[in-house]
Subunit: 146 residues, 2 copies
Amino acid sequence: MKIPRVTVVTLGVADFRKATKFYEAVLGTPPNTSYDGVTFIELPGTWISLFPLENLAKDISSEVPVTRSGFSGITLAHNVRSKDDVIAIIKRAKSAGARVMKEPQETFWGGFSGYFADLDGYCWEVAWGPMFEFSENGELRFKGNA
Amino acid sequence: MKIPRVTVVTLGVADFRKATKFYEAVLGTPPNTSYDGVTFIELPGTWISLFPLENLAKDISSEVPVTRSGFSGITLAHNVRSKDDVIAIIKRAKSAGARVMKEPQETFWGGFSGYFADLDGYCWEVAWGPMFEFSENGELRFKGNA
C-alpha cells in the first residue's frame, strides 16, 4: 500500500451552485462540473468537492443528522508564500462573499494569518510562516526537511 | 501566485494524545509531535493536523463556539487502489477504535467504499472507483486526464 493521503475534502453545502461559484472566485481554478450533483475542484495534492449537505449525510448513514450547528470542528489551511498573499486572498474571499473571521495579523507562533468562513461557515486559515517552505511540486514542508 | 492548494486539514479534537495515537495507527505514518500542543501528520499533498478543539475555535475567533453538535458537514476521502484496500483500511481503523459508519460496499456511482468516524466523530470515506487513477506522485485524477 502506498503512503496514504487525503485525496478529497468534501464540503456539505446548502446551495450547491452558489458554493461552486464562490470557490471558483476564491481559488481562481475552474471547477469540474461535468458530474451531476457534485463539483470537483481538482487542486494539486488534495481535491475539494462540493456536495449538497443532506446528500453527504445520507451517503454516510441514515443515522447522520442532516443539520449542522455550532463549529464544524475542522479548518482548512492554505499556506502561502508571503504576508501579501495572505492579505490578497482574504480580500478576494471577502469580495466573493466570505465572512472574515480574523483579519490578517501576526500570530503567536511567529507567522501571519487570517481566517475566513465560506458561504456555509466552513473556516479557512490563510497563513504564511517563517518555518515553512514549499517543495518543487508545491507541497508544504518545514524548512530544513528534505 | 501558484495554483492554490489545501495545505493542511486541522481536526479539532477532544483528547489530543488519543487522537495522535489513533491516526498513527490508521495511517501508518509517524506523526510529527515536535511542536508543543499540535500534531502534524505530514502526508503527501495535504497534511493533517490535530489540535485541541477549544484552542482551534479560539484561534479563529472568540465568536466561534467551542462545542460541536450534529454533523460536522465535512468528510475526508482516502481513495485507494483496490477494493481490498478499502476493506483493509476500514478494518484497521476499526481496530484502532473508529466507528464503522458504513461497511465497505458497492456504491451508486460504480465504486466501492465504506465510511468510518474517528474518535471525535469526523467521517472518512475510504473509496475505490473505476474512473480514478493516480499520477506518478500519487495524486488522484480522473482516467484519461493527463
